[in-house]
Amino acid sequence: MSSERSRNKFLSPEGNWEGFLSVAQGAGLDVDDPHMQELYDYIRVVLPGLQAVDELDLSGVDPAMVYFPPQSIISQEPAQPGT
């Protein structure tokens, strides 16, 4: 199951403990730590509030972190075909 699907399942009202543990393990957290229950309860309260961003129409909007290459670097070599 993709992490996005796992995330959506464990944020649902029914929850998904296994999905949560799968994401936690992938993140490098110790899934055998009893603290995991506390974290599970916490993210089920905190993360749904962040989904308000999904209400916005973002079509055609560039993210505020578009990469612009440094303007001062100018290649001395012409581009070679086939490379």
């Binding site: 957290l29 603290h35 961003v53």
Partner: protein, 474 residues
Amino acid sequence: MSSNRESLEICYLPATELSGLIQRKELSPVEVVQAHLARIDATEPTLNSFITLLPDQALADAKTAESEIQSGNYRGPLHGIPITLKDLYYLKGVRNTSGSKIFHDFVPDFDSTITSKLKNAGTVILGKTNTHQFAYGITGENPDYGDMHNPWNPQRITGGSSGGSVSSVASGQSTLTMGSDTGGSIRVPSSLCGLVGLKPTYGRLSRYGLTALSWSQDHPGPMARTVADCAMLMNATAGYDPKDPATSQNSVPDYTGALTGGVKGLRVGVPKEFFEAPLDSEVERAVRQAINLLEQMGAVVKEISWPMYTYAAPIATVIQMAEATSYHADLVRSRGGEYAKPVRLLLEAGFFLSAPQLNRAHQARTLFVNQTLELLQDVDVLAGPMTPITAHKIGATEVTVGSTTMTPRAALTQYTRPYNLSGFPAISVPCGFSAEGMPIGLQLGARPFAEETLLRTAHVYEQATQWHQRRPSL
């Protein structure tokens, strides 16, 4: 140099006045620092403002300042003025804990750019102040180094994360201080402790040599008892830094010079959404009176709408969580149990955000910034409450705002996020006290690099009122 001034009187002089006394040799930097160290001795057991106090170094620096001034080598208006630094600012050779025992013994071998500038200006650094752990909190509660206590009522929070910084200045332990603001951490404690706190435009001050929380939302900035004192600090610390790629090459104006002139014709927008959110009635009354006073002094005030205001918190929070978790990833995986529980949970929660979710937040940020810029074509400043409540009791896990129960975090950051998200400047200035004697703050926001407008407006308001002259009875 000698003076008959009372020690406590010296501790509450604004930097603008202290500066003149020092320059004219009517007061010695040594006497000034001794007065402040005595004040710290008397009040620190109650306030817990400091993680690292530097009395010997401070006295040595004061003696150096005295000697320089006596020999005609006057560095400028901050020469000999006591200052504290939030324990995120690297000070070479002095531990930088960031409010966590994980870094109890970490000693940087270089100064932050801002530290360097303040040293060159001749300030006397009294110590490194207490902070919410890793700056990731808004109350000023710290299980490792102890909670910070509000000088107006020590049973109440200072606010955070720059809690120790504000308590050091509000109590007279220091004249000036520097903090940082990622989600309100300069403005909130300033409001709760009766100080002026300026979050400058993103990139106006260098972040080099500060412990990061959220790279794209971290703003170093000044806090003081008066607007003019904040302006003095801005003059000394603002400017381009090649070591911080986010700093602006815009020239630095004379911020103290910008304090002249009134507010006649200034267009003040009051977002109606601010007053539709949960809000304590005493705070609302004080803020509306402050806005009315600006109008009486010639500002043109109108109600406006800021439709995306309610989206600022979720957008900013996604970005902050992603960036903070990235910064702490290895440490929280290996030493999570050593973090304060609320900080640990926030950092671990960041692992559960997805890349598309973060990208959508960055897209939403573009929309938000564009809408806010449009808004600020028709008005010069945005005005509203800094916090919806005054300082609550230390240890509270929920607060009542009007008729709504909220977490302290949600309440205290209710008005802060728009300016961290956009990077636009915002200032908190005292605008009253509650019936219980707790400070209330007015927040003003403006276009990028319009700190002069903010400082002038806040200064005019401050000088027309007496809130900045009140002292805690500590």
